[in-house]
C-alpha cells in the first residue's frame, strides 16, 4: 500500500453547532479565567481593597464617623512615641517567641510518643486535637474560669499538693498575666504541632532508624542525626505558619485579660482593637495593624524562598 496524496486543499472542518459560551470555555485560557473569577473577585474585594484602605486610613486622621484628612506619617510618629505601643511590641515578641519554642518542643515530644503503636492510638490521636478544634474563644473561657482568682481549680490543686499557701492571681497579677496567656496559647497550639510533626515522622522510613541502630547509634543520636534533619522541612513550614498566627493573635488575650492588667498582656492586635474599635480612633488603629505587616512580609518571603529551594531540590 502506498500513500495517496491529497491533491486539493481542503476545507477546514467546523464544529457542530455549539453555543458561544461552550466554545469560549473550550479554550484553556478562557476557562481558567472563568474558573478563577469568583475567587479573584472575592479576595480582591475583601482582602486587596481593605488592605489599600488600611494604608489609606493609616495616613489620615480618620475617626469613627469623621472622614479624615491626609496627615502623612503623623500616625506612625505617634505610635513610635507611644509607650503602650512599645509595651505591645515587646509583649507580642515575647509571647510569640516563648509560645513557639514551647509548642515546638512539647509538640515534638508528643509526636515522638504518638509514633509508637499502642492500644487506643487512634482514639488518643483524635482526642488530642480537641484543643485545636474547639472554638478558641470557648475553650479560653474555660481557662479563664480555671484561672479565676477566687475559684481557680488550679489553685486548689496546687494547694492540696501543698505547693502554695496563698492564691495565685494568674490573670490579675501583672507579672504573671503574660505567662498565663502563654500557657493557654501553648495548650491550644500544641496539638497542631504534634499532629503535623507526627505526620512528618511517619514519612521517615523506619529502615533508616534500623540502619542507624545497627551502626551503633543510641536513641538520642538517632534522633539528632536521622530524625531531626529529615523532619526539618516540615518543622519549618509549621513554625512559620504558627509564628504568623501567634504574632497576630487576638482572641485569646481579648477573652482572658483584654490586654491588661495595665497593658501587661497588650498585643498588637488587642491594642489595635482598643484604639480603632474601642475608642474609635480608626486611623491610629489601622496604623498599629499595619505595623504587623513588615514582620508578616519577612516571614512570607522567608517561607517562599524556602519553598522554592525545596522545590528545586
Amino acid at each position: 500500500m502506498t500513500y495517496t496524496t491529497v491533491a486539493s486543499p481542503s476545507v477546514y472542518a467546523g464544529s457542530p453547532k455549539r453555543g458561544p459560551i461552550t466554545r469560549l470555555l473550550e479554550d484553556e485560557r478562557w476557562l481558567a479565567m472563568t474558573l478563577l473569577l469568583p475567587t479573584v473577585a472575592l479576595l480582591g474585594l475583601f482582602i486587596a481593597y481593605p488592605f489599600i484602605e488600611g494604608v489609606r486610613l493609616a495616613v489620615t486622621d480618620a475617626k469613627v464617623g469623621i472622614p479624615g484628612h491626609f496627615v502623612g506619617l503623623q500616625n506612625f510618629e505617634k505610635i513610635w512615641n507611644d509607650d503602650i505601643f512599645h509595651v505591645a511590641v515587646w509583649n507580642t515578641c515575647v509571647y510569640t517567641a516563648v509560645a513557639t519554642v514551647f509548642k515546638l518542643v512539647l509538640g515534638l515530644w508528643l509526636a515522638l510518643l504518638l509514633n509508637h503503636n499502642f492500644k487506643g492510638k487512634a482514639f488518643t490521636r483524635a482526642f488530642i486535637l480537641l484543643p485545636f478544634i474547639i472554638p478558641t474563644v470557648l475553650s479560653t473561657l474555660a481557662w479563664k474560669w480555671m484561672f479565676d482568682p477566687t475559684f481557680s481549680v488550679i489553685n486548689w490543686m496546687l494547694f492540696r499538693l501543698g505547693l502554695i499557701h496563698s492564691r495565685i492571681n494568674w490573670l490579675g497579677d501583672p507579672n504573671l498575666a503574660l505567662i498565663s496567656v502563654i500557657i493557654v496559647n501553648v495548650w491550644r497550639g500544641l496539638p497542631f504541632y504534634a499532629i503535623s510533626l507526627l505526620a512528618g515522622l511517619q514519612t521517615i522510613s523506619p529502615e533508616l532508624h534500623e540502619a542507624a541502630a545497627i551502626d551503633g547509634a543510641r536513641a538520642w543520636q538517632r534522633f539528632r542525626h536521622v530524625t531531626w534533619p529529615l523532619l526539618l522541612p516540615v518543622t519549618l513550614v509549621i513554625v512559620l505558619f504558627s509564628v504568623i498566627q501567634t504574632f497576630a493573635d487576638f482572641q485569646l488575650v481579648y477573652v482572658l485579660t483584654g490586654g491588661g492588667p495595665a497593658n501587661a498582656t497588650q498585643l498588637f492586635a488587642t491594642y489595635a482593637y482598643q484604639l480603632g474599635i474601642g475608642t474609635g480612633l480608626l486611623s491610629e488603629g489601622a496604623t498599629i495593624s499595619l505595623a504587623v505587616f513588615p514582620v508578616l512580609l519577612l516571614v512570607v518571603i522567608v517561607q517562599l524562598l524556602y519553598i522554592r529551594r525545596v522545590e528545586t531540590h
Binding site: 500500500m1 500513500y3 491529497v6 481542503s10 476545507v11 477546514y12 472542518a13
Partner: protein, 363 residues
C-alpha cells in the same frame, strides 16, 4: 472512509522542537505504527492528531477536512492510553457508555453498543465492576471496549501494551491484530517496542529526534533500512555494525578493517564506487552470519573469537570478537563450540548493508 493525512507537521515546546516537519499518509483501514525511542516525537504526533496538543505549524486532515481547529470531542476519534485511563468512580458499563452519553445517544442504543463491544472483547461479566476490581489485562480490554463502542473514524493507541507483563503482552498483540481485522477501522499505534511494530503494523514509521526516518511495510524496513538508525532499531538481536574501509584490488572492492576483509558483492559494488578509500559502516544481521563450512567462499568470511555463548534453545547466540570489534551471530542450535574458541564465520552476501559514515544513510 477515513484517511489521515499529516502535512508538514511541527511542534515546538518552548525551545524544544519535538516534531520536525512530519509528512505522513495513512490509508483507510490501515494499521499504521509509529515506533521509535522515547523522546522521538511519536507520542506528540499522536496527541496532535487527537487534539490534545496544539499544532505549531502544519496540517492534519481526516479525509479531506483539515481538523486543526477542532477540539478532541469533535474529531470522531477514540484513543486507548498506556495506563488505560479508566474512570475510577464509574462501573465498566458506565465507562464504556460515557462517550455515547456525551453524544446524547439514547439508552437503548447505548445498551446495545456496549453489549456488542463487551461480547467482542469477552468482558460481558465485568460490566458491573469498578476498575479497581479488575486485573491489568481486563482493564486493557475495557479501555478497548470504550474506544470501540463509539465506532470512530480513527483509533489512536498510545503504547497500550506497555503496562502489561510479557506474556499478556504477547497475547494481547494477537488479539489486537484480530480485532483490527474484524473492525477494519483506520488506526495509528504508537510504541517503542519494535516487535509490536513489526507484528502489528500494516506499515511502520520509524522516528528519531522528531524526524521521520523511514516509512514502509515492516519487512521492507527490515530488509532495506534507509539508514543506520532504522537498521539498528528493528530486529533483535540488533544488526551488527563495523566501521570498514573500502579499498580496490584487482577491480574488486573489499571492505576491510582490523581482523577482517570481506569482498563486496558485485551488486553492491556499483553503489560503493564513490566510497573507495573512505570509511563506511558495514551492517550484517546476526541471523545472516553462520559458521563456515568447507563450501563457503573464503572472501566472505572472517575469524572470530567466541566470548560468550547464549543458548536459547531455538538458536545459539555467539558473542564474538574480531579484532577490536564485537558481533553477535545467531547460529544453528546444534553447533558445538566453546568459549575462547576461534571460529570462522561467513556472512550472507545478499544481506550485507553499507552505510555512509557521516550521514548514516544507506548506500
Amino acid at each position: 472512509m477515513a484517511e489521515v493525512h499529516i502535512q508538514s507537521l511541527n511542534k515546538k515546546f518552548d525551545e524544544v522542537h519535538a516534531v520536525k516537519d512530519v509528512n505522513l499518509g495513512i490509508n483507510d483501514k490501515e494499521f499504521m505504527v509509529l515506533v521509535g525511542p522515547s523522546g522521538c516525537g511519536k507520542t506528540t504526533t499522536l496527541r496532535m492528531v487527537a487534539g490534545l496538543e496544539s499544532i505549531t505549524s502544519g496540517r492534519i486532515l481526516i479525509d479531506d477536512k483539515v481538523i486543526n481547529n477542532l477540539p478532541p470531542m469533535d474529531r470522531d476519534i477514540a484513543m486507548v492510553f498506556q495506563n488505560y485511563a479508566l474512570y475510577p468512580h464509574m462501573s465498566v458499563y458506565d465507562n464504556m457508555a460515557f462517550g455515547l452519553k456525551m453524544r446524547k445517544f439514547d439508552r437503548a442504543d447505548i445498551a446495545k453498543r456496549v453489549q456488542d463491544a463487551a461480547e467482542i472483547l469477552g468482558i460481558q461479566e465485568l460490566l458491573k465492576r469498578k476498575p479497581r476490581q479488575l486485573s491489568g489485562g481486563q482493564r486493557q480490554r475495557v479501555a478497548l471496549g470504550r474506544a470501540i463502542v463509539r465506532h470512530p473514524q480513527v483509533f489512536l493507541f498510545d503504547e497500550p501494551l506497555s503496562n502489561l507483563d510479557a506474556k499478556l503482552r504477547v497475547q494481547m498483540r494477537v488479539e489486537l491484530k484480530k480485532l483490527h481485522d474484524r473492525l477494519g477501522t483506520t488506526a495509528i499505534y504508537v510504541t517503542h517496542d519494535q516487535v509490536e511494530a513489526m507484528t502489528l503494523g500494516d506499515r511502520v514509521v520509524v522516528m528519531k529526534d522528531g524526524l521521520v526516518q523511514q516509512v514502509g511495510e515492516p519487512l521492507e524496513l527490515y530488509n532495506e533500512p534507509a539508514n543506520l538508525f532504522v537498521a539498528g532499531f528493528l530486529g533483535s538481536p540488533a544488526m551488527n555494525f563495523a566501521p570498514v574501509q573500502i579499498s580496490e584490488t584487482n577491480g574488486a572492492l573489499w571492505a576491510g578493517s582490523e581482523g577482517m576483509r570481506i569482498k563486496v558483492p558485485a551488486e553492491i559494488a556499483g553503489r560503493l564506487g564513490r566510497h573507495v578509500r573512505s570509511d563506511v559502516t558495514m551492517g550484517i544481521r546476526p541471523e545472516d552470519l553462520h559458521v563456515a563450512s568447507a563450501a563457503d567462499p573464503a572472501e566472505l568470511g572472517f575469524d572470530a573469537v567466541i566470548e560468550v555463548i547464549e543458548k536459547l534453545g531455538s538458536e545459539i547466540l555467539l558473542d564474538v570478537a574480531i579484532g577490536p570489534h564485537t558481533m553477535v551471530a545467531s547460529v544453528d542450535p546444534g553447533i558445538r563450540v566453546n568459549v575462547h574458541d576461534c571460529v570462522r564465520l561467513v556472512l550472507n552476501p545478499e544481506r550485507l548493508h553499507f552505510f555512509d559514515a557521516r550521514s548514516e544513510a544507506v548506500i
